[in-house]
Amino acid sequence: MNLPEDLSYTATHEWMRRGDDGVTVGITDHAQSELTDVVFVDLPETGTHVDAGDEICSLESVKTVAYIYAPVAGAISAVNERLREEPELLNQDPYGEGWIVRITPDAPEKTVDLLDAAGYRKSIESEAEG
């Protein structure tokens, strides 16, 4: 399972990466593998403000519909327009070309409980046994 060490994770299977242009959010390799082939992404509008833990958008795979939750409070500054035509990017490259939204965090920053790679690994292992 691919879990880059430089990312933060949530128990709801999002990852986030801090950068100069804000916080980039996507779903984990584990999440895309559980979802199986993603066929539709209902992207939010840029400018929308979300609280930490709010639903950002939904994904549809051949198996189910899943919701993406904001790991951090802030304004959505960009969405990955390519996902409209190529939702398969979420399966092929979840940490790269398959990013979903970018958020400009509020100050002071408010996040959900974040996990590091080891913490997230533990969380999905206990979920599998549950």
């Binding site: 559980e34 082939d37 066929v39 539709f40 549809e60 051949v62 198996k63 189910t64 519909v65 939702p87 398969e88 979920e127 599998a128």
Partner: protein
């Protein structure tokens, strides 16, 4: 068999006498203005009658239904449709009656509708029912619009509806469509509504709760009266999604549990055919305080017989022309009269017994979502098979097709990983249930010994595993038989 469509089988000049595109137009059609007439005849396929009959008969033989074999599609309640109901619904006295016929000339029809309403009200512990909604989904919308109007007419703007995380997807969708905001209430480890979480969510903004009982895991919400009481204390209403009423019919009444609104899917409890696109029927019952909001018209008993009651100033309005999908309602009427209250008790009893038998026999080979007894359906998880051998719920379902059974519902409810949801209904005999158990146990062994067999299933069907990604992404299924039609 060949996968050719009727368009591909068509040959110029072949025809069936009475459906020929070259037939003379009736005189009345000649009055259509010249500029509205098409220049060339439509490019209908040209085949002989025998070719058409074979084409559709062969397609029908590839289909699966309750008339072909066991169909344990959990949550969908694939009930047998008694032939007597079909026969009576085909009588011209019912099927050929014009809906605009005056009430005095339609007393038989109105009596059937009136008595169906009375029987459904009695079974659910409700004051009255509307038979108008075209299907369960429209029934839900009807119910929630009444909830909305109830609050608005009291000058109350509460706008939140609580839905448990195990609910059917239609419940949150209905809330959104009816203008409510949805809040999801988590289940406890026992699979039932978490009462303390519910208490925290209840306030003066909560318009109501939508609940299925037994819930989607096939578990009876034991604290249902407490749940309804709590919602009522907060000023909200309790909505009963009747999708699982087949587990309770004739034994428990939603009204006695504390519910204010009920929708029923007639095909899921009263033996009418599954819609598959229509027509369906989703009657909605209400307690007395919501009665003024029911759609108009209702059928009532007047001094001169049965009549339509249009004088309903607080009604949410009309949802369907005339009496709804009346021929579906009529089938349910026959079913109710055929079985009676004792027969209906046996329906729910046998449905629950069959599910418990299957659960008991399968829960060593597959991991049950919850230990102990279930109601009319239960959920197994293929998570252990997936972890050990990479065999998913989907693979198990596909392999069942090879062994002559319709697969259970997979990947629902969302709260159980690799879910297989099994609902046998009340009409299967012990031999069929045992044969299904043997097939499931065989698949569990195959998952250990030869997982590739499952990954490649189905092998014995006209087409193998379908490309679900392409089916979901390329929704354009319109055929363009000729270039000029593009």
């Amino acid at each position: 068999m060949s996968g050719e469509t009727v368009f591909e089988k068509s040959r110029p000049g072949r025809q069936t006498r009475y459906i020929s595109p070259r037939a003379e137009l009736p005189a009345s059609y000649r009055e259509v203005p010249e500029d509205l007439l098409r220049a060339a005849p439509p490019s209908l396929p040209e085949l002989t009658e025998a070719e058409v009959v074979r084409h559709y008969t062969n397609l029908a033989r590839m289909n699966w239904g309750v008339d072909v074999g066991f169909y344990p599609l959990g949550s969908c309640t694939m009930k047998y449709n008694p032939r007597l109901a079909e026969q009576i619904a085909s009588w011209p006295e019912f099927s050929a009656a014009h809906p605009l016929r005056p009430a005095r000339a339609a007393q038989g029809w109105l009596r059937a509708l009136y008595e169906t309403e009375r029987m459904l009200s009695e079974l659910c512990g409700m004051a009255r029912f509307t038979l108008q909604p075209s299907a369960g989904a429209q029934g839900e919308l009807c119910g929630m619009l009444m909830v909305r109007k109830y609050h608005r007419d009291r000058g109350d703007s509460r706008n939140i509806v609580i839905v448990p995380d195990s609910a059917h997807g239609t419940n949150p969708a209905t809330c959104s469509l009816a203008g409510f905001q949805v809040k999801v209430c988590p289940s406890g480890p026992d699979g039932l509504v978490d009462i303390s979480a519910l208490k925290e969510m209840l306030d003066d903004q909560v318009a109501g709760i939508m609940l299925t009982n037994p819930n989607t895991l096939g578990l009876f919400e034991r604290e249902i009266q407490t749940i309804c009481d709590l919602v009522h204390e907060a000023g909200g209403l309790a909505y009963y999604d009747g999708a699982n009423f087949n587990a309770l019919v004739g034994r428990f009444r939603p009204g006695d549990m504390g519910f204010d609104v009920v929708h029923l899917n007639l095909h899921k409890t009263f033996g009418t055919p599954h819609g598959g696109g229509g027509p369906g029927s989703g009657p909605v019952g209400v307690v007395e305080k919501l009665e003024p909001f029911l759609p108009t018209p209702l059928v009532r008993k007047g001094a001169e017989g049965f009549e339509y009651d249009y004088d309903r100033p607080h009604s949410i309005g009309r949802l369907h022309a005339f009496g709804g999908n009346a021929l579906v309602v009529l089938r349910a009427y026959v079913y109710l009269r055929l079985l009676g209250s004792e027969g209906l008790r046996e329906v729910s009893g046998s449905a629950v017994l069959a599910a418990n038998y299957l659960k008991h026999r399968l829960e060593k080979a597959y991991q049950p979502s919850h230990a102990g007894r279930c109601m009319h359906e239960f959920v197994l998880s293929a998570a252990p098979q997936k972890k050990k051998r990479g065999v998913r719920a989907l693979d198990i379902g596909k392999r069942l097709i090879d062994l002559g059974f319709h697969p259970p519902t997979v990947y629902f409810p969302l709260t159980v990983p690799e879910a297989l949801m099994i609902e046998p209904t009340e009409t299967e005999n012990l031999e069929t249930l045992d044969a299904f158990v043997e097939a499931m146990l065989q698949i569990a062994r195959e998952a250990e010994e030869n997982p590739d067999l499952l990954h490649e299933a189905p092998r014995h069907t006209p087409v193998g595993r379908l490309d679900e990604v392409r089916a979901a992404k390329e929704l354009d299924i319109r055929r363009r038989p000729n270039k000029e039609d593009e």
